[in-house]
């Protein structure tokens, strides 16, 4: 997502990371009890993943996150006028880039070619790297692992 943000910046595409509640809290990164805790976790995220995109914090109640659908890692592409061009349950950079190119092309041609918008949906598939996911949970703390996988 970072490299995509950099590549599309000169095409007037903005990219942002909206920071929500912790999806898998554990002993090392607990749930947010204040905005200071949220800021701390967001800075750790920025540092660990070298995030260059703007990180924007939702309020402690998750007002924006809840309004947009509650999911832990969804992505939307929103265009002029606030019109939603793409929304997905999970963040898949290849799928997002495909949708982004489509939207850019359509917006560039819509007046000249007299294009009209319509809604469509499709089912997508993703592969979860189980080892990487578990390693992430372990970094969050033992409780995060137990909460997801159960006690073993």
């Amino acid at each position: 997502m970072e490299s995509m943000a950099a590549r599309y910046a000169d095409r007037s595409v903005r990219s942002a990371f909206l920071y929500t509640r912790e999806a898998h809290p554990g002993e090392h990164y607990r749930h947010h009890t204040s905005m200071d805790v949220k800021r701390h976790h967001a800075r750790a995220f920025k540092d660990e993943f070298d995030v260059k995109r703007a990180i924007l914090l939702d309020d402690l109640d998750g007002t924006a996150h809840r309004a947009y659908g509650w999911l832990p890692n969804m992505t939307l592409i929103i265009g002029p006028g606030g019109i939603i061009h793409y929304k997905a349950t999970w963040t898949d950079p290849a799928d997002i880039e495909d949708a982004l190119n489509y939207a850019l092309d359509a917006l560039a041609r819509r007046v000249k070619d007299r294009l009209l918008p319509y809604h469509s949906e499709r089912l997508k598939w993703r592969l979860r790297d189980e080892d990487k996911f578990r390693a992430r949970l372990e970094k969050n703390g033992p409780q995060a692992v137990t909460d997801f996988y159960g006690k073993r």
Binding site: F17, A23, H41, G82, H85, L107
Partner: protein, 66 residues
Amino acid sequence: MGHDYNYAVFDMKAEMGKFAEFQDHPLHAGRQAPDYPLEELDTANTVHMKDLWASGLVVIEFGSFT
């Protein structure tokens, strides 16, 4: 007791339910996105979501460290 927004314990059943609800969520492609104020981490400034899409497309990824 309800499952709080900032839960201390991940509840698989509650959170998987959210995925099912998402398919019926009213914010579909083609609809207008709502505007909310957000705090920019680096500057502590308030950024309104509508300012993100004022001049073009914006890709907004939702997420957290964990």
